[in-house]
């Protein structure tokens, strides 16, 4: 049921994968990383391979590049390279594959921070591609690298040539990676989640750059992503993968507008919509806010005053807001905007300099740790990384009860409440005796939420609480938080870099830039009628603002 796309006459697919099956090592939960998958990468097209973690999309990409670790083996299938260098990639000699890598097929990776050698300059690292394939004289190579740096729109290419990676921002490093991948004008570019680690405005720029270069060079791009928003932005055709199998293929239009497989429908439906609709009030607006923040600031000192070189970083500047009971304030910003510093100030994990935080009418800023301790249960935090925030040596029961017991609750009562909460957040009672490693990321985040709720808090501070999760899991967790808020009337501060997520759950959104709140208002204002230029830039950068009919049909 693989649909055949029209191809214009002579040009066949740049790459065709047929019946590819890749085995996993014996002790893994699945036998195959991918099972009997077939698809074509058409010449001069962008093919998006979409799937959640564990779908096998990255393994497929690495197989094409011949970069699989030795513990994972291809057991069946073919990968045929088209064009002038036509040939079979599976079973090809290592030297043949090495010769193709970087010259005919290039690859860029997810995390540009770690994908460049910290000890070599940008220029050296790009030149290496040319040298490895024996192309050009030294002078020519140098000129070519400068040309490439210009092509990917890096500022001051002459200077950039001699720069070390640590000096560059994430977006700039990804541009260097793209320049490196383009060095020998390959026919095929494989991009493995190249924008996932980037801020939304940077992501928009990189997507634009890839699209632009692909058109100019007539390259074929295999773009791996988990985000249907990105798919809508860039794809010509789409392959959807679930647990190592292809569940749907088709043109981008067809898949986005009328997905046929339930999994595709679920994925598309799970992409947070940008409706710009305000949230229905969870409770009657009470006049008295739970928390009121006035003129809060935090300045970090970097370097040493005694030996010179000290300078100040204003992470949070003059931030003011208030939240009523049962309401959610979203704090949205890119990396370095100060949103996480603000979160730490609110739960007093860190002391600010200047300003007041009135919690239930009492200023908690001047309180000492001992004075704040009785209030701590009322302000709880949910963390980003559900893997790192649970002690691997404690049972879930211990994790949930240790805090309340320390604050004076007797154990049988704490145990009863913990079990009730576990079933409330959608886990079975048996979870109480088990350890964190036995749970998936989404389940762990549910445990994290249950832990925060054990104290019956008045305020929950969720710092990027769903960022590490797959989109379908994300949607479930957001739903759970919404439900809990309606039942308990807890107020929430939801810190996120993702405007789409914020639009799902927030009554009000504050947009932060360089430590300040540049705009605050209900979602309708932020998304439909932004007042500040920065907010507009952020909203415009959101990938794939999907046409409404696509979402509707996906939901039906």
């Amino acid at each position: 049921m693989t649909p055949q796309y029209q191809t214009d006459g002579a040009t066949g697919p740049a790459l065709s994968v047929r019946g590819l099956t890749i085995d996993l090592p014996k002790d893994m939960e699945r036998r195959h990383a991918v099972e009997d998958i077939s698809f074509d990468l058409q010449d001069g097209q962008i093919l998006c391979i979409v799937g959640e973690s564990g779908s096998g999309k990255s393994v497929t990409a690495n197989t094409i590049m011949g970069l699989l670790p030795s513990s994972i083996r291809v057991s069946a299938g073919e990968i045929h390279l088209g064009g002038a260098e036509a040939g079979e990639l599976i079973g090809a000699a290592p030297a043949t594959l090495r010769n193709l890598r970087g010259r005919v097929v290039s690859m860029i990776f997810q995390d540009p921070l770690s994908a460049l050698n910290p000890l070599m300059t940008v220029g050296e690292q790009i030149t290496e591609v040319l040298t490895a394939h024996g192309v050009g004289t030294r002078e020519w190579q140098r000129a070519r690298v400068i040309e490439l740096l210009t092509e990917v729109s890096l500022p001051d290419p002459q200077l950039m040539y001699h720069q070390y990676p640590f000096r560059l921002s994430g977006g700039q490093r990804q541009r260097v990676m793209i320049a490196m991948a383009l060095a020998l004008e390959p026919k095929i570019l494989i991009a493995d989640e190249p924008t996932t680690a980037l801020d939304v405005t940077t992501q928009a720029q990189i997507l634009h750059l890839i699209r632009d270069i692909q058109r100019r060079k007539g390259m074929s791009v295999m773009f791996i992503t988990h985000d249907f928003g990105v798919v809508a932005e860039i794809a010509d055709s789409v392959v959807v993968m679930e647990k190592g199998r292809i569940v749907e293929t088709g043109s981008a239009d067809a898949v986005l507008k009328s997905p046929s497989h339930p999994y595709t429908k679920r994925l598309i439906a799970a992409v947070p919509a940008l409706t710009g609709e305000n949230r229905a009030a969870a409770s009657n607006a009470a006049p008295e806010p739970i928390i009121r923040v006035e003129g809060l600031g935090k300045t970090y000192r970097i370097g040493s005053a005694l030996f010179g070189g000290e300078y100040l970083v204003k992470a949070v500047q003059d931030v003011s807001f208030e939240i009523g009971p049962g309401r959610t304030l979203g704090i949205v910003g890119e990396s370095g905007s100060g949103k996480s510093s603000l979160g730490r100030l609110l739960v007093k994990l860190q002391d600010g300099n200047g300003g007041r935080i009135l919690f239930e009418g009492r200023d908690i800023v001047p309180l000492s740790d001992a004075e704040f301790r009785p209030l701590r249960p009322k302000i709880q935090m949910i963390f980003q990384d559900p893997f790192a925030s649970l002690n691997p040596r404690s049972t879930i029961g211990h994790i949930l009860t240790v805090g309340p017991v320390a604050h004076g609750m007797d154990y049988p009562k704490a145990r009863k409440e913990a079990q009730a909460l576990l079933s409330h957040v959608g886990l079975d009672a048996g979870a109480f005796e088990r350890y964190p490693h036995e749970f998936s990321g989404g389940q762990r985040q549910r445990i994290g939420i249950a832990r925060a709720l054990m104290f019956k808090p008045k305020l929950l501070v969720a710092d990027e609480a769903v960022s590490a999760l797959d989109v379908s899991i994300q949607a479930q967790i957001l739903e759970l938080l919404d439900q809990i808020q309606r039942e308990t009337g807890v107020s929430m501060i939801f810190i996120t870099h993702d405007l789409r997520v914020a639009s799902q759950i927030c009554d009000e959104i504050a947009v932060m830039q360089k430590g300040r709140i540049v705009e605050q208002g209900p979602p309708s204002q932020i998304f439909l009628d932004p007042r500040s230029a920065y907010t507009r830039e952020l909203v415009d950068a959101i990938p794939g603002r999907m046409p409404a009919e696509a979402r509707l049909s996906a939901l039906n």
Binding site: R98, N117, E128, S304, F307, G308
Partner: protein
């Protein structure tokens, strides 16, 4: 960088002060003292001893002796040996190069062989070579240096007669070849334990770097495995080793002391033991301060070297 240097040098001075005080006090707590050796000589009277004590300044309170010694040291006067009256620095200098020769050659052996074994173990993880290297390192680490020295002498000098059993040169020969001949056994014995340490550290550092994303990038560029290893893996893996080298120096010095004793090598280790036996305080203190400065300086140099190699620190 200048701020960092200034801070480190100030820290080092405080450290030296503490070392000197502890050394001075402990030395004077030892029973006997510099004049004890004359106690058995019946021709020396109590009056002679008192005169000697006054001449050497040993009759003064301990803190006065210390302050006097420290003040002179600051002015560059390390004092004179009680034994032959020669300036302490001169005595140390006589023995210095023998120790440096031993330490230098064994360090070269340890670093080159250790790094090689470590890299090969990492790239051939789980191979026979890797297991052999692991077992070998365990053995080298768990057996004391002097035992290796004695076994070496027994096998290669007594039984096989290939290598000399001790000393730095044959009297009357003293060619470069003769020195090298004498150097082989002690430098290998001293290097053994450090080969083991270096190979273990280098193995884990190499494995660590091999799993980094930029190595995958290098592979995706179409580089050869050899180039990836030499240019991308080894450089990054050696970075933490520079710090390790600085930290390892004191133990090389200690090892040299033992090795010199086993092989009757005329270096600082032998000088230290002899001077201690004679209660030659100025020389012992001089050696103590000298090795403390050496250790501090090598740590500082290692830190500066890391800063110079790593652009993230150099340019930050």
């Amino acid at each position: 960088m200048p701020g960092f240097l200034l801070k480190r040098i100030l820290q080092s001075l405080v450290l030296l002060l503490i070392v000197s005080v502890i050394g001075f006090v402990v030395l004077n707590l030892l029973p006997g003292g510099p004049l004890a050796q004359f106690g058995l000589d019946s021709s020396i009277t109590q009056a002679d001893l008192d005169r000697l004590r006054e001449q050497l300044g040993l009759n003064r309170p301990l803190y006065v002796q210390y302050l006097d010694w420290a003040w002179r040291l600051l002015q560059g006067d390390w004092g004179h040996s009680f034994r032959d009256g020669a300036p302490v620095l001169e005595v140390i200098a006589r023995h210095l190069w023998a120790t440096f020769l031993l330490m230098g050659s064994s360090t070269i052996i340890a670093v080159s062989i250790g790094a090689w074994i470590g890299i090969r173990s990492a790239t051939h993880r789980g191979s026979t070579f890797d297991y052999a290297a692991t077992v070998g390192a365990m053995i080298a680490l768990s057996i004391p240096t002097f035992w290796f020295g004695l076994v070496g002498i027994y096998v290669f000098s007594l039984k096989l007669g290939w290598l000399p059993a001790g000393n730095m040169y044959t009297i009357g020969d003293e060619t470069v070849l003769d020195y090298l001949h004498h150097l082989i056994l002690p430098s290998i014995v001293l290097a053994l334990v450090h080969v083991a340490i270096w190979s273990r550290y280098m193995r884990s550092a190499t494995l660590d770097v091999m799993n980094q994303d930029f190595v995958k990038t290098a592979r995706a560029k179409g580089l050869s495995e050899r180039r990836i290893l030499m240019k991308h893996v080894v450089g990054n893996a050696l970075l933490p080793m520079v710090t390790l080298a600085g930290i390892q120096l004191p133990s090389v010095l200690t090892g040299a002391l033992v090795t010199e004793t086993v092989f009757t090598w005329p270096g600082m280790g032998r000088l230290f033991l002899d001077s201690l036996g004679y209660s030659d305080y100025p020389v012992v203190m001089g050696l103590l301060m000298f090795s403390a400065i050496l250790v501090i300086a090598s740590n500082l140099i290692a830190d500066i070297a890391v800063a110079l190699i790593d652009p993230r620190i150099r340019l930050a």
